[in-house]
């Protein structure tokens, strides 16, 4: 049985294909203005990687911000449940998940089977989001991929008091004018992000093991700052961006089995 999990986020779209609980292939594409096309593009890429065709997919679950507009999805499930399920698949011991996506940030607690027990989300402001890092990288004229590494070179943190993207940007501009090194500014920016997401984590309570998912998990600077505050080293998968899509594929498998079971009992 082959199933698909499609996670359409605000900045990127991911598809994971799964056969009998094993990941066959995955893809990550940037979200365009059209969520439906993004979903198709991501799925086509994943199908190419696995060398199978669209007709082989028996069930599809869509998740993420754009989940309601994935045309070929059989069902849509919130990204909160999918992230918990996906994190549980990758790390069965995980109980606390911090998902830092492109446009929002979530703190999730789950149980031993990956069911959500407590969650809080910040989707009101850009603090702790990929977009925030994007803006800062742009102001400092450094590639997004490098800002984590650069920040580690800092000997001290520059003071960035605001976690608001608009205000932090103007603070960063004035720090640049003063000649503060980029590494120290970035370290300060990461500190501001970590402070904000730590407050969110405290709302749900932190329990071992702890995992960070979403694109920001690739930013070693933020990860270190969050680890310092939590007092625990986070687990991070090889590809933290696809955790939600993995969860969606797992839901798809479960729902597909249920649907088949129903069909069978009907025909008897």
């Amino acid at each position: 049985m082959i199933v698909a999990g499609v996670d359409i986020g605000s900045l990127s779209g991911e598809t994971v294909l799964m056969r009998d609980g094993e990941i066959l292939s995955y893809s990550i594409v940037r979200t365009g203005a059209d969520s439906a096309k993004t979903a198709e593009k991501a799925t086509d890429e994943a199908l190419d990687n696995a060398s199978i065709s669209f007709g082989d997919i028996e069930y599809t679950v869509a998740t993420g911000y754009g989940r309601v507009i994935v045309p070929f999805a059989d069902k849509n499930i919130t990204e909160i449940s999918c992230h918990a399920r996906g994190a549980n698949y990758l790390f069965p011991t995980v109980r606390t998940i911090l998902d830092m996506g492109g446009q929002d940030c979530k703190a999730i607690k789950c149980n031993d089977v990956g069911k959500v027990t407590n969650f809080a989300m910040n989707d009101k402001c850009a603090a702790g989001t990929g977009r925030f890092c994007d803006v800062m990288a742009e102001v400092l004229d450094e590639p997004l991929e490098d800002i984590g590494r650069i920040s580690l070179e800092a000997e001290r943190d520059a003071m960035v008091s605001s976690a608001c993207a608009v205000f932090a940007k103007s603070e960063v501009v004035s720090l640049l004018r003063k000649g503060t090194p980029k590494s120290e500014i970035l370290s300060g920016v990461h500190e501001a992000i970590a402070t904000r997401v730590f407050a969110l984590l405290q709302r749900v309570g932190i329990e071992a093991d702890f995992v960070i998912t979403g694109g920001i998990a690739k930013n070693i600077g933020v990860v270190r700052k969050v680890a310092e505050k939590v007092g625990m080293n986070p687990l991070i998968s090889d590809e933290p961006q696809i955790v939600g899509a993995i969860g969606a594929a797992l839901f798809a498998e479960e729902l597909c089995k249920k649907a088949k079971h129903k069909d069978r009992s009907k025909s008897q």
């Binding site: 499930i77 919130t78 909160i80 449940s81 069911k115 959500v116 027990t117 407590n118 969650f119 809080a120 989300m121 910040n122 989707d123 009101k124 402001c125 407050a199 709302r203 749900v204």
Partner: protein
């Protein structure tokens, strides 16, 4: 599942906390709310439970009157009608 609807801003914590495991989906709180904050809907695990309406989520602190400063003075409110202590507020 405990769901925290709301946010922290410069003036404080504004969260409506809903424990969906305790909720039986009776809907009395939906009717009791003077601000039309709540609704019943199916969650990801197939249970009908109460939740904060999407339109209200990012302005909870403005739409909901809050329990201590607001609705606790009303004879009927979302917390008084609930037999299972599903809903709580942080302000």
């Amino acid at each position: 599942m405990i769901v925290n609807y709301g946010y922290t801003d410069g003036s404080g914590d504004y969260y409506i906390v809903i424990d969906t495991d305790k909720c039986d989906g009776c809907g009395k709180c939906v009717d009791a709310c003077p601000q039309n904050v709540l609704e019943l809907a199916e969650d990801d695990y197939g249970d009908i439970v109460v939740r904060v309406r999407d339109e209200v989520k990012s302005k909870v602190g403005y739409v909901c009157l809050g329990f201590n400063p607001g609705c606790s003075k009303n004879e009927v409110n979302c917390r008084s009608v609930c037999e299972h202590d599903v809903i709580s507020h942080t302000w």
